[in-house]
Each structure stands twice: as C-alpha cells, then as structure tokens.
Amino acid sequence: MTPNDLALVGPILLPALAALLVILVDLLPGSQRSGGSFLLAVLGAAVSLGYTIHALMHDREGLAFFGTMKIDRMALLITLFVHASALMSLLLSKVYLDRRSDVEQPEYHAFVLTSAAGMAMLAGANDLVNVFLGIELLSIPLYLLVAMRKHQSRSVEAGFKYLLLGAFASAFMLFGAALLYGSSGSTMLTAIPTGIARIGNDTPLAAFGASMLLVGLLFKVAAVPFHMWTPDVYEGAPTPVTAFMATATKAATFAVLLRLAPTLGTALGEEQAANLLGGLAVLTMFVGNLGALQQLNLKRLLAYSSISHAGYLLVGLAALVRAHGSSVEAEAASSIVYYLGAYTAMSLGAFAVAVLIDGGKDREAISDLAGLGKRNPLLAAAMTVFALALAGVPPTAGFFAKYYVFLSAVDAGLIAVAVLGVLASVIGLYYYLRILLTMYVDEPKPGHEATVSRDAMVAAVSLTAVAFVLLLGIVPKGFVEAMALAH
C-alpha cells in the first residue's frame, strides 16, 4: 500500500470516508434534525465526483494494490457515472424524504455513499475477490435503502425480496469465482484467460465457473431470466433510491462484465459466448419492452424499461466478446460506455420527474400525468425529452446510444441480434409515446392530478439531465471520443 495506490483509489475512498463522516456527525449531540447529514453527503458525493473528473482529465490511471485494482479510463468513466448518479440521487432525495417521516435520513445518506464506494470499487476491480467485495459493498446498503421506509409494507417487501434473491445471486457468483480460480489458477481477471488457455480448449470447469459468475452479474443488471425482482423492487424502493440503483448499479456491474469479456470468450468459446449473450440480450429486450406495455405505474414502467436497456447493453457485450482481438472490440466497449452514460442521464431525468410529481402520496400512476402538458409545460417538455431518449428517438442521447451499440453488433457480425433489437425498440416506442399522449392529450381525472412540487434541486437535476441527453444527442462525436477506450 503506497500513497500512489491510495491516490488512485481516491474515488473509492472518498465516498466511504464521507459516509463515515455522516455517521460521525450524526453522533454529535443536537445534530439530529439540522439536515447537516444531507449537506455533508452532497458535499462528499460532489467531492468524489470532482476527484473522478480530475483523475479523468489528468489521466491518473494505473494499477493499484498489487494489480488487484485497475484504475483505467473505463473504470474512471464508469466511476464518473456512478458518482454523478449518487449526487443526483441525493439531491432528489431531499424533497422526497422531507415529505416522509419514516426514514432515518443520516443512515439513508451514509448508505448511498457506501453503496457508491462499492460501485466505484467494482468499476476498478481487477480481481475476483475485489469483484465480490465490491458487489457486496454496493448491495448490502442497497438492500437497506430499498427497505428504508420500514413502516411501508411495499418498501419492506421489496427490500426483503432483493435481499433474498441478491444473496442467492451472490452464492452463484462465489461458486463461479471459486471454479474459475480452480480452473485457471488465478483470481486476477487479466490472468484468468491465459490461465485457462494454458490448459487447453476442453475446459468445462472454467465454462461452468464463468457462466455461474455471469449469472450473479446478470442478476445485478436485471437481465432476463434473472430480472424478476426488478419491477417489485423498483416500485417498492423510495424513488431516489430506484433512480440510483437503476443507473449506477448497471454501470458498475457492466464495468465488471467488460473486464470479464476475455474470460467469457476463453472459457465459453467466443462464438458460443457471443451467441449466449446475444440470445439473452434479445430475450431481455423483448421481455422488458413487452412487460412495460401494460404497466399503469410509472416506476414499474421504468423498471421494465430498465430491463430492456440491460438488453441493449448486452447486445454491445455480445459484440465485444465476438469481436475479440479485432478493431471492433474497442468500438463495442466504447459503445457500451457511451450507452451507460446516456442511460444514466436519461433514466435519472425520468426518475427526477417521478419525484417531482409524487406529491408524497406514494401513487405513481401514469394516468396522473394527464394534463401535465398544460399545467406545467416545462416539466412536460423535460419528460418528453427523457421519454424520447429512452425510446431512442433522434436527436437525443438515447438514439446514438442504441445506434452505436447496434452498429458494433452489426460490425461484429451479430446481424440477427441487431435486427431483433431494432424490432424490440419499436415495441418500446409504444409505451414511451403513451406517456407523451397522456401528458398532452388526456384530460386529468379530478382529484388525481399529479401535484408538482417546486424544488430547485430536483429541477436542477432534471435540467442537467435534459442538457446531457440533448448534448449527447446533438453533438455525440465529442462524447464518443471522450469515451473511446483503447482496448
């Protein structure tokens, strides 16, 4: 452990430190109701974000802790998304929590920061042990955050389900990690493929291990058929938590999947692994989009939308595995990172709108949006941008995200997957447009108009999200270059 190591993993240490400070300050007498924990947490998240941006701009990259952490460009970019998401989610939570008395705020803030630390760790993890540590560090606070509203059965039920299935997934992961170690002789992600290759082609043990590890990770990103928890948990969790876990967890877990791609390719065979991931991607895209069609609850709809986006991301992963060793590999990796950035912005934005119209009633019916176009045109316009982006309509970030992912799939030869993906997004168009229709055409039912709260912080979050969604869509080139990974 050298000072350089510590500097490299700053984006992990800082939020953890901030979480400790939040708890420490809360211990001080008289600090209970002052809201200090909120300010401290926001400051912590902002500093972490700033540190990450600084590291990105100055190329502070390298190996740390004997190579078990690999802080490279990809890790920093994903960490950037994670910390941005944490910061935004904290800003969203203020108005949400102030309307509800059943949540311990300091704990809430500390958990968000701890989870962010876990995600940042996951993004840089280069060793199976650290992967597992990161997964647990991000998951355990999330279980608690989901169940944070301990007097509301929906929330507790969601937390319980997430905990049980999460433990389940962790068991699979550990099993897979053990088998991978056994079959390759190393826990280092970069060394595993060579370890497996040393043994030869017939490596069923490695294949089995890799797929079990994959199962655990697919659970975290809500890919079919490991997605069943998603709608219930997303609906039950406090909305800012949903926003955080939908975006940041996906980003962090995909970082591991990106690092694991060579292992998957070696252990399962590149062709087979790509087909497997492509198949899962198609399944995920269709289940997500079809499931969303009949939803009446906005959060549940966004949960299914989140599942479908996991599918689009898996398309990119399939392309990445398939194109191993060619120039398309870097293209696919960049497309995934770009997608994660775009998804973080547009999904956070949509959840921010959900927070704004919630009114403390815990009723997120889509029909409550009716007439929003007239009552609050700006908010409706923001929601329009997010819905169009999530649907993948140009010129928004969502369009280019899908475009690049599908393009890399085509370049990698996975044409059927790309075609099916486009088909699935056409289905998706329907329910996103329904949101717009509800906002602009439907007449509100008396007594069920969404009450829009005026909150500067949430408005700032939505505005930032709108700006990024449009910026990424109108001038994608610069961002693509920023996210280009030398693979």
Binding site: F160, K161, L164, L165, F168, A169, F172, P204, A207, F208, S211, M212, L214, V215, F219, V224, P225, F226, M228, W229, P231, D232, L268, Q272, L276, F286, V287, L290, G291, A292, L293, Q294, Y403, L407, D411, I427, V475, P476, K477, G478, V480
Partner: protein, 651 residues
C-alpha cells in the same frame, strides 16, 4: 473566418432558444431587441466575412454530427460566392423585415411567438444556404417549410389561415419527395452527400456519367424546387400563404424561402448543364409559370394576392434564366427581386395597417396624401417590378430576356413569351398602384369587405373596424425599412450592369461557381452593344407602355372592375383560371375517394393484421405480467431454471 460562419448560423438559434425559454418573462421591447439582434449580428458577420473572403471557399465544422461506416455527415457550413450572396440577402433583408415587424406586430398578443418563429426561419434558411451537405440543406429546407407553415397559420384560430397552412404543407411534401429521391440517387452514384464533392465528382465524370441518371437527378431536384418555389403545377399554395402576417409574406414568401429552389438549381447547376432535357424542362416550366401567373395577376382585387401572383411570375423568370443557362442573370434577378418585392409587400403591409386590415384594392384609392412615405417607396418598388430603367428590376429582367432572345430555337420563343409577361407585369403593377394611391377615396364607408375576417385578419392592430379616423402614416420602425429597401431597389441594378458598361460585379463574383457548368455548356453568348441596346429598348418600351396603360386606366378608380365579372376571360382571370377548383375535382376528389377505399381496405385488412400483431404483443405482455406474480419462490425458481439452462447449454 470560421468563427464568423459559426456565429452567422448559431445566432438565430440561440435567440430562438432564449425567446422560447423566456417567452413569459420577456417584455416586448426586449424580445424585439433579441429578435432583431439575432439577424443583425449574422448580417454584420456576413459583411465582415464578405470583406475577408478571398475567393476560396471556407468550411466551418461545428462537430461531426453522424459518423458511421457508410455515411458521414459533419455539421459543417461552407461559405462560397453563392452562399455568401444568399446569406447577405437573407440576413440583410431579414433584418429590415424584423425591424418592420416590431412596428407591425406591436399590438399582437403573440408578439414573442412571432419573433421566435421568424428567427427560427432565418436560422433554418441560413442552414439551407450554408449547409455543406445535402442532408443539412434538406434539414434547412424542411425547417423553412415548417416555419412557413407555422407562420401562415400564425393566427391559427382562423380556420381559413389554418387551411392555407395545411395546403402549403401538403403541396410542399410532394416537392420534398422529389428532393429525397434526388438525394438517394446522388448518394447511390457518388457515395457522399457533400455538395462540393458531389459537384466536383460530377464535373470530373461529365463524360462518363449515365445521362439518364443525370437527367433523373436534375428532374427530381427540380420537382423539389417546384414545390418550394411555387412553380407550375405546384404553385397554388403560395397565393393562399398570404393569409400569414404581411412581414412573413415579405420575408418568406417573396424575398427568401421561395428562392430556395433557385438556390438549389444554381448550387447543383452542373447537373442541369449536363442534361439538356432537364434544362429545357426548367426553362419551359419557368416561362409558363411566369406567363400564367401574370395573367391571373391582371384581375386580382386583393392587394396581397396581386403581389403573390407577381412573385410566382417573377420566380418563373428566374427559372427561365436558369433553364437557358443564364445562371448569373437568374441569381441577379433573385437579388433585385428580393429588394423590390420585399419593399412592395412591406408597403402593402403599411397600407393594410393604415386601413385596419382592408386588403381589397377596390376599397382603397387616394391614399397618396395620407401615406406619403409609403406612397413614394411603393412607387419605386412598382417601377422596379415593372422593369423601368434605371430601377433594379429593369437590369435583371433585361439580362434574362436578352439571354433568351438572342439564343436559338426554343429559348428564343420563350424569350418572346417573357416579353409578353413583362408587358402584363407592368400593367398589373401600375393598375394596383393606381387603385391604391390615386383616384377617389373608396375606403372607410359601408361595411368592411370580405378581406376582414373578424377578430384579427392581417395586421395585429387592436383598434379594429370601428375606427373612422383618417388613415395615418406608419411609425418609423415600419417606414425606415421601406426607405432602405427603396434605395436598394433604385441602386440594386448597379450590381450587374449590361455588358457594354463593363461593370458586372456580380457576374465576376459568381464566376467560379458556374465555371463547371459553363465548361459543359460552353461559354455564355456574348452580345454586341447593338443587340443589348435593342433588347433594352424593346423591354423598356413594353414596360413603360404597360405601366402607362395600367396607370391611366385606373387612376380615376376601378371603373367596371369594381363589380365582379361574371363571364368571359375576365371571369376566368378573376377566378384564377379555376385552378384550385380543377385541382379539387381532379386531384382532391379522387384522392378522397381513394382514401375512402383505402380506409375500407385499411379497416378490413391492415387493421386486422395490425390488431392481430398488437393483440399478440399485448398478450405476450400479459403473460409476462402473469409471471410477475409477486411471489418470491416463483422468482427464485425462474432464477434457478435460467442458471440451469445456461449450464446445460454450455456443457
């Protein structure tokens, strides 16, 4: 230089964003400053760019917009002689009309919305003119179309206005189809949509390119131009478009947007030069439109309708010029026409403003003493439109007619028709001038004419129909642009004097643009001084004669024309040859029948199919929802099954 170009394009859009976001907060004065400033800044930048311009085209890239393995479309803008010319016209005249609008729209409740649209229009037009690829050009093309549609229907609570907007929209879609086809053909042949590259490649491969393909591209482009620039048979939307506020008519439907078709043909002139068939079509359609619209103009009563048909007619002249290979003359006429037609429209607006939305020229007369500035400037505009020396219109029209008359074969015949058109133009221009400004005062008594559609017809004037005060001159914000434009309409001809004067700034300036086209066509024919003088004399005599006849016949009043005629040619002319009605019977009727049939088919077959698919999709959704039963053990079971499936597949 790149910075200038970027400023030119971005300024209007920035203003649109500002005006849109702050539409509630901004006071009218601030909105006016922002709106006008957003056109003044690009104009000044264009002037600066003009003086820095050294003859080599400059490309400013904002960003790579779309990148891919097949199609690369950078967001880039290219300033060359042609786009510089157009940009000067668009921003210069655009600024004057913005200033005018401040006065004209002053009392309209949708003042800020008006400036938002107007700036959006200028931005789109600049995108059209400066875009370096066909994609950007098309984007601007659609953008100006959208703004035109929005501004025609600006007072959308009037049904007629909304209908006129729709008509413009539908007719332009037909044209756009042509443009799109051309784009696909070009991309298929050349593999790029960068205009400069396409032109260069076309010029280089002139000998080997398939002539059918070239003709197809040129004709498809021209179909697009017919829609946008209101040529036969797609011109019908333009006269109806006068339902919009008058500054809009001046800016969009006279000076700038409708010349986009001419711009496109000039821009892609190499394709037309390589295809004699396409050129002939352009020339014939242009000439026919010029003549046809002029005949309708002879008997119109509505002041704006006369100007609208004259615009269609003058656009026909420009296409005639392009079709016979007199490219510079065509562009020259675009410029002078922009000066005097904007002037005439704004003058008409001033009249309408003064008479509280009266548009029927039969109910005007004698306005000379009430509106002195409007009168003088309108007279200058009329002289220019009629083609009387030494006003701007004379020189540009003469260039076109001269080029046509001294060629051989068909163009010569077209030139003769052009002369007849010139005669009619002079006649109806001075008929209008006389009816409006001379003779007895026929306004202000009795009920208002049909042009007054209640709450707000044209002119956002609050005080409506109850007013009996004398007409009064418009405020300075409105008369100032009139005066500037009048000066331009007087001096504009100096840009390109006849050949013997050895002073052809515009021709020299535009030479590099049309050099490839002339390389294919052969250098333009040089006329002797006698020939030029002869043509000038003929057209001048015709113009003066027509103008004098028109003026003397109507200077006392409309005479018999005050009544609607019921038979014969006048009846046909007054009803615009019944083209709208014919279209209704021939096109709209069958279309409606077809759409009923299609609707039937749609319900029976397509709906069945779609509903079937939708039903399947929905039931799949329902199935997924059923699985989601909330029971944890179901979830865990599926999890295990999934993992087991993975394991089985892999082993």
């Amino acid at each position: 230089m790149e910075g200038l170009i970027q400023t030119i394009v971005l300024a209007p859009f920035v203003s649109v964003a500002l005006l849109f976001l702050l539409r509630r907060q901004l006071p009218k004065s601030a909105a006016a400053v922002i709106g006008c400033g957003a056109v003044l800044v690009p104009f000044l930048c264009t002037v600066a760019a003009f003086f820095q311009f050294d003859g080599t085209p400059v490309t400013a890239t904002l960003t790579q917009w779309m990148t891919g393995s097949v199609l690369n479309v950078p967001l880039a803008f290219r300033l060359d002689q042609l786009s510089l010319t157009w940009t000067l016209v668009v921003t210069g005249i655009g600024f004057l009309i913005h200033v005018y609008s401040v006065g004209y729209m002053h009392e309209d409740p949708s003042f800020v919305r008006f400036f938002t649209y107007l700036n959006l229009f200028v931005g789109s037009m600049l995108c059209l003119v400066l875009g370096d690829s066909m994609v950007l050009l098309f984007l601007g093309w659609e953008g100006v179309g959208l703004c035109s549609y929005l501004l025609i229907g600006f007072w959308f609570d009037e049904e007629e206005n909304a209908k006129a907007g729709q008509k413009a929209f539908v007719v332009n879609r037909i044209g756009d189809l042509g443009f799109l086809v051309a784009m696909v053909l070009v991309f298929k042949q050349f593999g790029t949509l960068n205009i400069a590259d396409v032109n260069a490649m076309a010029a280089a491969q002139a000998a080997t390119l398939d002539p059918t393909l070239v003709t197809s591209i040129a004709l498809a482009l021209f179909v697009g131009c017919c829609g946008k620039s209101a040529q036969l048979p797609l011109y019908t939307w333009l006269p109806d478009a006068m339902a919009g506020p008058t500054p809009v008519s001046a800016l969009i439907h006279a000076a700038t947007m409708v010349t986009a078709g001419i711009y496109l043909v000039a821009r892609m002139s190499i394709f037309f030069a390589m295809s004699p068939t396409a050129s002939t079509v352009v020339a014939v359609v242009g000439c026919a439109t010029a003549l046809f619209a002029a005949t309708i103009g002879l008997r119109q009563r509505d002041i704006k309708k006369v100007l609208a048909y004259s615009t269609v007619s003058q656009l026909g002249y420009m296409f005639l010029a392009l079709g016979i290979g007199a490219y510079t003359a065509g562009v020259f006429h675009v410029i002078t026409h922009a000066f005097f037609k904007a002037l005439l429209f704004l003058g008409a607006g001033s009249v309408i403003h003064a008479l509280h939305h009266e548009q029927d020229a039969m109910r005007m007369g004698g306005l000379k003493k009430y509106l002195p500035i409007t009168h003088k400037t309108f007279l200058i505009g009329s002289l220019a439109l009629a083609g009387i020396a030494p006003f701007a219109g004379f020189f540009s029209k003469d260039k076109i007619l001269g080029a046509a008359l001294y060629s051989h074969g068909l163009p010569q015949l077209l030139g003769v028709f052009g002369l007849i058109t010139a005669l009619m133009t002079a006649f109806y221009t001075f008929r209008l001038y006389a009816l409006v400004f001379h003779g007895e005062e026929r306004f202000g008594h009795g009920a208002h004419g049909h042009a007054d559609h209640g709450a707000h017809a044209d002119a956002g004037h609050g005080h409506g129909a109850h007013d009996h005060a004398k007409p009064h001159e418009s405020p300075l914000t409105m008369t100032f642009p009139l005066m500037v434009l009048a000066v331009l309409a007087v001096l504009g001809g100096a840009l390109s004097l006849p050949h013997f004067a050895h002073f052809d700034m515009l021709g020299k300036f535009l030479e590099p643009i049309f050099a490839p086209a002339y390389a294919v066509l052969g250098a333009p024919h040089e006329h002797s001084v006698a020939q030029e003088l002869g043509a000038m004399l003929v057209s001048l005599v015709l113009a003066v004669g027509g103008a004098w006849y028109g003026f003397s016949k109507f200077s006392e009043g409309p005479g018999k024309q005050a009544e609607h005629s019921t038979k014969g040619l006048p009846f046909l002319l007054e009803n615009k040859w019944f083209v709208d009605e014919i279209y209704n019977v021939l096109v709209v009727g069958p279309m409606r029948a077809l759409s009923h049939l299609a609707g039937f088919f749609d319900r029976l077959v397509v709906d069945g199919l779609v509903n079937g698919v939708a039903g399947m999709v929905r039931s799949a959704g329902g199935w997924i929802r059923m699985m989601q039963n909330g029971a944890l053990h179901t979830y865990a079971l599926l999890f295990i099954l999934g993992a087991a499936y993975l394991a089985i597949v892999l082993l």
